[in-house]
């Protein structure tokens, strides 16, 4: 079957969909891949070539010096200076020249006729042979040559070592985890309880309460930052404790995440089959047992999908952390540390790329370990059975 026929069988709409998906995936994966590769590259190579050349050798021009008169030997009628221009450095000489304007005038391995009976050949391993029919009269420092040196790709963990130990990223990584884990777990727990009550316990004003919770979703975070911080300061002053603490930011993230969490989980939990819950009730379970033994296990997809949302949001958050936690070293979160690095070490790409990759490592892990629940959880409430 010809390719045209095959494509025709797939059909244009599906072809467009597949193509679009491919483009979107490529667009999203490329930068990540770039950061990932760059973060392992040698910092000198990183500055001269792009990450996509990382797996081939990179070529650059260098200046070198031949040996001085002290190395001159006489071999019959000719005078020879020989040695190695690379002097033990790695790499391979691709071309060489004797003038700065034409550093790659001759290919490596060929013999260059420099006039006056002087000839120079440099092999790709750097070994050179400089000959003359008359004794060399140059000064003692040796002749300058220009080399096109190809260096093999160098991959190193040094960037990570520097970043994690030297630049404070390691500490802020721990700080970020300290913020993100409780700020994910607390709202989920609270929201699950609330969602159960809002869907399976009948009490007066339930609908109104739910409407209020849903209404809170639209409150913009930025609007509540300052009043909340003032409240924190007042409470801090009143109790004689600092206002910028981990407990404070956990509470802040919990508060900002709860409305959406309750709404999402409630939509899922209300869709659980009524008979299962009634059956448990007849079996002798109270509300708390129904919640812990039946509703929680069955809501795992919804819990996981919200956990991803909340964790990623908290992990990537800079604003709330700056306001409620501050920028002291033992409290600076990863996003804050990256932001600071960008200012102070903006030119050091190897530092930036390694730090950036450290910061996306955890979200990637979280996402891949829970992603099968994400899809199911997002469908929560829309399709019976989720």
């Amino acid at each position: 079957m010809s390719i045209g026929k095959r494509l025709a069988r797939i059909g244009l709409p599906r072809l467009i969909i597949n193509l679009t998906v491919f483009v979107v995936v490529a667009l999203w994966v490329m930068p990540t891949l770039g950061i990932f590769v760059s973060s392992f590259r040698d910092k000198d190579q990183l500055t001269v070539s792009g990450w996509w050349t990382a797996f081939s050798s990179s070529e650059r021009n260098e200046a070198g010096r031949l040996g001085g008169l002290d190395l001159m030997k006489q071999e019959g009628p000719i005078y020879v200076i020989s040695g190695n221009v690379l002097e033990g450095r790695g790499g391979a000489v691709n071309a060489f020249g004797t003038k700065a304007v034409a550093p790659r005038a001759y290919k490596a391995g060929t013999e260059a006729d420099l006039g006056d009976g002087i000839k120079l050949s440099i092999n790709s391993d750097g070994a050179y042979r400089y000959t003359s029919t008359a004794p060399f009269t140059d000064d003692n420092t040796g002749r300058r040559v220009y080399l096109a040196v190809a260096t093999p790709p160098v991959f190193t963990m040094v960037n990570y070592k520097n970043v994690l130990t030297g630049e404070g990223i390691g500490q802020s990584f721990v700080n970020s985890l300290t913020v993100a884990i409780p700020a994910t777990v607390i709202p989920i727990l609270v929201a699950a309880f609330a969602a159960y009550a809002l869907s399976w316990m009948s009490f007066k004003g339930r609908t109104l309460l739910l409407a209020a919770v849903v209404g809170l979703i639209v409150v913009p975070l930025q609007m509540s930052l300052i009043p909340l911080l003032r409240l924190y300061n007042d409470v801090g002053t009143f109790l004689g404790v600092p206002s910028k603490t981990y407990a404070g930011i956990w509470l802040a993230h919990t508060a900002f995440g709860l409305p959406l969490a309750i709404y999402l989980l409630r939509n899922y939990i209300v869709g659980l089959p009524k008979e299962i819950i009634e059956s448990a009730r007849v079996d002798g379970a109270g509300d708390f047992e129904i919640f812990t033994k039946i509703v929680l296990p069955l809501s795992f997809p919804a819990l996981a999908s919200f956990a991803i949302f909340q964790f990623l949001w908290v992990w990537n958050d800079l604003l709330v952390a700056m306001v409620f936690l501050g920028t002291e070293k033992d409290k600076l979160v990863l996003t804050g540390a990256l932001n600071a690095l960008l200012g102070s070490r903006g030119g050091n790409w190897e530092i930036l790329s390694a730090s950036a990759f450290v910061s996306i490592l955890v979200p990637l892990l979280v996402f891949f370990s829970l992603q099968r629940y994400l899809v199911r959880g997002l469908l929560a409430g829309s399709v019976k059975g989720g």
Binding site: I276, E278, V282, D283, G284, A285
Partner: protein, 379 residues
């Protein structure tokens, strides 16, 4: 003791009343079936007994305790739901053990009871499976098993067989009946399927629009329906209802239908018929009371001749259902497959009037019944 009394039981949702003043005495170890069309309040009644719906009015008594406000977990009942309602995240064993675990029963006792129930229901090999790996019939057994292990005084079953295919339903019907005898518990069973009701019940409660129409044994319900609703609901195909006028004919009476006199034989209560002399009534004749040849056990004077046009034949294998037009009225007759009636043909049949029913056209009550008129029936 697990007798159950429903005393003037009511269920209202706002202005809507779905169960009206239900009075019912259920004896210990009885198999009671609530039957009726959709929305008749039978499931709501069951759910009130289960404690899943609040009682809006009246008293619900289990044993000799009023349990209106007793939570369902303290009522010593077990319930089997229509869609089984198994816990999808637990194995069959855990599903069955759940109730006992909640009651903190000792582990070996749980084990023994679950194994015992599994053995009775023949699901021992499924104990480690999750519900989604079971077929419909197996799930139903697990649901029954889950109810059994708790050894409750009262079993409540809410249309437990309606999600099964016809063949399996027949098997499970027999098994539930067997289970009832074996367990010696009170069974209250809700269904809309009159075959289930007729085959399993000690007594059937026929409900309509939140009112009890009649409570009686299956055979009595069939033989002596108290009103047109019960007469039409029990028995398939439905009883034929014909408008007639009661006329005196010498010593006895006849029902005059479209110019034809149908005898009212002596086994029908003549004094009650006499009260309707000259008045209109509704004559009810079951499809099986039409005969091609006179049966030996029915006196000739009880048989009335009729001729009707065959509109439709439905061979059922063991019998044939005929859709007929008798004097402009559509009726259904059940005859033997030997009857080779062809559609469009005029057929002569004999009607067994000794099995006839008579109803008041206004109150819809049977003339032969003493039952008080149930409320909610259009008067």
């Amino acid at each position: 003791m697990a007798s159950i009394s429903l005393r003037k039981l009511n269920k209202t949702y706002g202005a809507l009343t779905v169960v009206h003043d239900i009075d019912l005495e259920i004896a210990d170890k009885e198999f009671i079936i609530l039957v009726g069309p959709s929305g008749c309040g039978k499931s709501t009644t069951l759910r009130m007994i289960a404690g899943l719906e609040e009682v809006s009015g009246g008293d619900l008594v289990i044993g000799d305790e009023v349990v209106n406000d007793v939570p369902s977990k303290d009522r010593d009942i077990a319930m089997v739901f229509q869609n089984y309602a198994l816990y999808p995240h637990m194995t069959v064993y855990k599903n069955m053990a759940f109730g006992l675990m909640l009651r903190k029963a000792p582990r070996d006792e749980i084990d023994r009871k679950v194994m015992e129930a599994a053995k009775i229901l023949d699901i021992e090999h499924l104990l480690n499976r999750k519900p989604k790996a079971l077929s419909g019939g197996q799930r139903q057994r697990v649901a029954l098993g889950r109810a059994m292990v708790r050894n409750p005084e009262v079993f409540l079953l809410d249309e437990p067989l309606s999600n099964l295919d016809a063949k399996l339903r027949g098997t499970m019907r027999a098994e539930i009946a067997k289970l009832h005898k074996r367990l010696g518990a009170t069974f209250i069973y809700v269904t809309h399927d009159q075959v289930e009701a007729m085959t399993m019940a000690d007594r059937i409660v026929v409900m309509k629009d939140g009112h009890i129409q009649q409570v009686d044994t299956p055979q009595n319900l069939y033989d002596r329906p108290v009103n047109m609703f019960v007469a039409g609901f029990i028995g398939a195909p439905q009883m034929n209802m014909l408008p007639v006028t009661i006329l005196r004919d010498g010593q006895g009476f006849v029902a005059r239908f479209e110019g034809q006199n149908l005898p009212m034989p002596g086994n029908l209560d003549q004094s009650r018929i006499a009260a309707y002399e000259g008045r209109e009534a509704v004559l009810g004749i079951r499809p099986e009371n039409f005969h091609e040849v006179a049966p030996d056990d029915i006196p000739a004077e009880a048989l009335a001749q009729m001729s009707a046009v065959v509109e439709l034949t439905e061979p059922m294998g063991s019998e044939v259902h005929l859709g007929l037009t008798w004097a402009g009225r559509p009726i259904t007759a059940k005859v033997s497959p030997r009857c080779k009636a062809a559609e469009g043909e005029t057929l002569n049949l004999l009607v067994d009037m000794s099995a006839a029913h008579l109803f008041d056209p206004k109150s819809e009550l049977s003339l032969f019944s003493d039952a008080p008129q149930p409320r909610g029936i259009a008067a």
